[in-house]
């Protein structure tokens, strides 16, 4: 397969960026999008040019590092996948593929396609945990947890923190990301004790860090590689109201 890859290049956070188009030939339909990027980088390196910076690590859809905006979609045209699990067979041979970084005020660009997502860590530091120290925990079976609650908690806890939800949101809101964590904990007896304070603290931190507010368009849930449902945002709003 042959492609024209139109990529956002930006040498540093303050530099002026631009699109560059590269032609890439003989690509197997069975390689992933990031492997295609490897090939493109090899071609650039062979011509002694600076390679394209992009985040990636586990390449099996779980670490949440990869973060490309492809042909106008976060993680590209396939559903329920991260960029590393998107395969070239999804694209038409000979087409032009546009690759951009996450675009959002909360995620400033570091270089090319790499953005700074430290804001996510800061939001979780504000309260995305159960306040227990190591040691002294009661036996794991002391408190029964209904299977359905454990399953729902895990559904929410599947969030990989990639940031696609923020990138897809016209307001650049991190509500789905926050809701995934608050729901994961609120469904469990261990986590529900702090649910109101947690919701308040995390939303407050999100506002401080320059993310927008939610207006329930649902774009976030559509692009989420882990199918995190927008219903968690409703639950987050309820937790938030509990506090006030």
């Amino acid at each position: 397969m042959d492609f024209n890859i139109k990529v956002w290049r930006q040498s540093s956070p303050k530099a002026i960026g631009r699109f560059e188009t590269y032609f890439l030939s003989v690509i197997s339909p069975d390689i992933s999008f990031v492997e295609m990027m490897d090939n493109l980088n090899k071609q650039l390196s062979d011509y002694k040019q600076d390679v394209i910076a992009f985040d990636h690590d586990c390449r099996e859809g779980i670490c949440g590092a990869c973060s490309l905006y492809i042909n106008g979609y976060a993680h590209g045209p396939d559903s329920e996948v991260t960029t590393c699990q998107l395969y070239m067979r999804m694209f038409r041979d000979g087409s032009t593929i546009t690759v951009e970084p996450w675009r959002s005020r909360g995620f400033p660009i570091i270089k090319d396609l790499v953005v700074d997502r430290q804001a996510f860590d800061k939001i979780l530091q504000a309260g995305g945990f159960v306040s227990v120290d190591t040691g002294g925990a009661p036996d794991a079976n002391t408190i029964p947890i209904a299977k359905i609650d454990a399953d729902k908690s895990l559904d929410a806890s599947s969030c990989i923190g990639c940031g696609a939800c923020v990138a897809a949101c016209k307001n650049g809101s991190a509500m789905l990301f926050i809701a995934a964590r608050t729901s994961a904990l609120s469904f469990l007896p261990q986590g529900s004790i702090e649910r109101a304070a947690r919701a308040k603290a995390m939303v407050k931190k999100m506002d401080e860090l320059g993310f927008g507010t939610c207006c329930n368009t649902g774009a976030c849930a559509l692009v989420c590689p882990k199918k995190i449902s927008i219903e968690h945002i409703a639950r987050l709003n309820r937790d938030f109201l509990l506090f006030t």
């Binding site: 390679v51 586990c58 099996e60 590092a65 395969y87 979780l124 947890i145």
Partner: protein, 648 residues
């Protein structure tokens, strides 16, 4: 035992060793903990749990990670589960059985007292994780559910679908975030450790490369904890993440920490085979699948031929024409034999010409019986996300057709040598989790890596490190302007400079692939004297070729992925050398280490307990000299050493 290797295993009965040892460890009072700094490198299960727990105790902790967030460490990708001797299933499990299974699984090449402690502490890890809000699988009555893993006859593996590593890491990362918010832990992301700083024989700090600015930064501490995982990426194709590397432990080795059992590397039996020419890594399919999936190949060569030509579907092959070779050869454990045993059996089957994909390097993992027995909904509930992952990669849905799987490098049992306190041979330098060697012998059992990472980080290191630091309460914070920091920084900068030259042309990947080919063929599943000698020659050639041919584009003072890779690959080449050297020295087969010259007539491992019942701990002896071997003789006081057998 070598005079330099003092394992510090306490006296007393096996089941009392840890209890009595804890009582003898010195303490640091809360107001003195504030005066002490600890560096933790790596934020996987070991690093995050250690950093969080040390922060809770009141130490000043600095934690470093290579990615943009601690949550992205490769522990996140662990799928199947975590072992604990809870005996919730009432199947007569116990601490002793978990200990014994682990020792036997490791083919009697791990330290008895360490493994017992691991089993003993496994239960509190589950309690701790539940308290943190880890959503483990539950049964309908609300109790924890467990399943089986290889090498055991009980059900002791706790799990959260096939995302157990992710959920446990979110728990540890949550605890870490809490300490960061409190100011007890400071986190440094996108930093890669470049070297260890040893002052007056003690670990006193590290130098890191800021991966965004390219600057070399200095950090000091009273103790340094290495939690950087394993070095399976030496094989190029492995199930490890792209950034997983062996550089941190390798720099520690070069600074004097002994490297133990480097040749013990686990090849996991159930991975998706290389699917395309430019594939960059291999994807694991969890061992948990072997609870319900059956592994087989056709019995008839003509069926194999027709499968390869795609003129026959697997479902068309009659039951009587299928060879369920694990069930046949190991009736007592069936498909749930340990990884090394399953891997060798799959390899034997493919080598004999029964491989089922186009290149003859795959076997079937089939769920059709389980689908009939349990129904589609139950199977999807158990393995849904693994099936989805498999389908995205191969376009085949395992509900309709069996998976094709083949072994791939996955985990390294070898690592920095540590004593019972998890301290390396450099005072003040600790290694935890996969980065050390201590618990898995020559083969790790499934679901034991998560257990070890968390046991080390939550419950062992926070106790043992205090014993060392009790002496340091009057030692001031490390001065990062000390001449040793200056010298080390110059060495690092010279090393980086040497990689930049416009006259060369080969990328780091080029050398990494070449190294991977050598290692996979000669230092992989099947090793021999001649093969290992050949590998050592080839690695030496590759080392020179690398120095003369490596080309790195871009600038050193920038986010430069090519430079990062070049630095890691140059270390991988040296690690590969030590692996081959160790494999050549160990003229026996045990666990993952299979020497062709040493096998039973059934093709199983033939151990030589008289000559090789020791840990080989290698000491760096300069770049141009062979390393020095130190032997820690393994003594088993509480178990009988037997030939490892999964047939009866």
């Amino acid at each position: 035992m070598s005079c330099k290797l003092i394992s510090k295993v306490p006296n007393g009965p096996l089941s009392q060793k840890w209890t009595s040892h804890k009582d003898s460890l010195r303490l640091v009072s809360p107001n003195n903990k504030r005066k002490l700094e600890i560096i933790v490198v790596g934020t996987g299960l070991g690093g995050s749990s250690a950093a969080a727990s040390l922060g809770e105790l009141g130490y000043n902790v600095k934690v470093f990670c290579i990615n943009d967030s601690p949550r992205r460490a490769h522990s996140i990708a662990a799928q199947g589960g975590i072992n604990a001797a809870k005996n919730y299933a009432n199947d007569n499990d116990s601490v002793y059985r978990l200990f014994y299974d682990t020792i036997k699984g490791g083919d009697f090449r791990s330290r008895e007292a360490n493994v017992y402690r691991l089993a003993e502490l496994s239960n509190v890890v589950i309690d701790q994780c539940v308290a943190q809000g880890v959503p483990f699988a539950r049964d309908y009555g609300g109790m924890l559910h467990s399943r089986s893993f290889g090498g055991t006859q009980v059900s002791r593996t706790f799990y959260a679908r096939a995302q157990t590593g992710q959920q446990l890491l979110l728990g540890a990362y949550g605890a870490l975030n809490r300490q960061i918010a409190k100011g007890n832990v400071k986190v440094y992301t996108r930093r890669e450790m470049m070297d260890l700083v040893v002052i007056n024989g003690e670990a006193r700090g590290i130098l890191v490369r800021n991966l965004v600015s390219g600057r070399i930064e200095r950090y000091g501490a009273h103790a340094v904890v290495i939690a950087t995982g394993g070095y399976s990426n030496v094989f190029f194709h492995s199930t490890n993440a792209m950034h997983s590397n062996g550089s941190a432990i390798w720099q520690c080795y070069k600074k004097g920490a002994f490297f133990a059992n480097p040749s013990f590397t686990q090849i996991h039996p159930t991975c998706i085979p290389v699917h395309a020419k430019h594939a960059s890594k291999l994807t694991l399919m969890s061992e948990s699948l072997r609870n319900d999936g059956r592994i087989w190949t056709p019995k008839k060569k003509e069926d194999v031929e027709r499968l390869r030509l795609n003129t026959l579907q697997p479902s068309q092959i009659l039951e009587t024409d299928r060879d369920y070779f694990l069930e046949e050869q190991y009736p007592a454990f069936g498909n749930l034999v340990p990884r090394d045993v399953a891997t060798r059996a799959c390899k034997r089957q493919c080598d004999a010409g029964y491989g089922v994909n186009k290149i003859g390097k795959a076997v079937f993992l089939d769920f059709s019986d389980a689908l009939l027995r349990l129904g589609r909904d139950e199977i999807e509930d158990r393995y849904g996300n693994l099936f989805q992952m498999y389908q995205k990669i191969t376009t085949v849905n395992p509900i309709n057709q069996p998976m094709m799987i083949y072994p791939a490098p996955h985990y390294t049992m070898g690592g920095l040598w540590v004593d019972y306190n998890l301290m390396t041979t450099i005072p003040g330098l600790y290694a935890i989790g996969e980065a050390n060697f201590s618990d898995h012998g020559a083969n790790r059992l499934g679901a034991s890596a998560l257990m070890q990472g968390l046991v080390d980080g939550y419950f062992i290191l926070p106790y043992t490190i205090g014993d060392y630091l009790a002496d340091k309460i009057k030692v001031p914070f490390t001065d990062v302007n000390h001449p040793v920091f200056d010298e080390t920084e110059v060495t690092i900068k010279d090393r980086i400079s040497s990689l930049f030259s416009d006259n060369r042309s080969n990328s780091a990947d080029f050398f990494h692939q070449a190294l991977g080919r050598i290692m996979w063929k000669k230092v992989g599943m099947d090793r021999s004297d001649a093969g290992l000698r050949f590998a050592l020659r080839k690695i030496e050639e590759l080392k020179s070729a690398f120095l003369e041919g490596i080309y790195v584009s871009g600038s050193r003072y920038d986010l430069n992925y090519e430079l990062e890779k070049a630095l890691r690959v140059s270390d991988f080449i040296e690690i590969a050398q030590l692996m081959a050297f160790d494999a050549l020295n160990r003229k026996e087969s045990c666990g993952s280490h299979f020497r062709r010259e040493m096998q039973t007539k059934e093709g199983e491992c033939l151990r030589d307990d008289i000559s090789f019942m020791y840990v080989s701990a290698w000491e760096f002896n300069g770049i141009d000299n062979p390393p020095i071997l130190h032997k820690e003789i393994l003594e088993y006081d509480y178990i009988n050493i037997i030939e490892r057998n999964y047939i009866l």
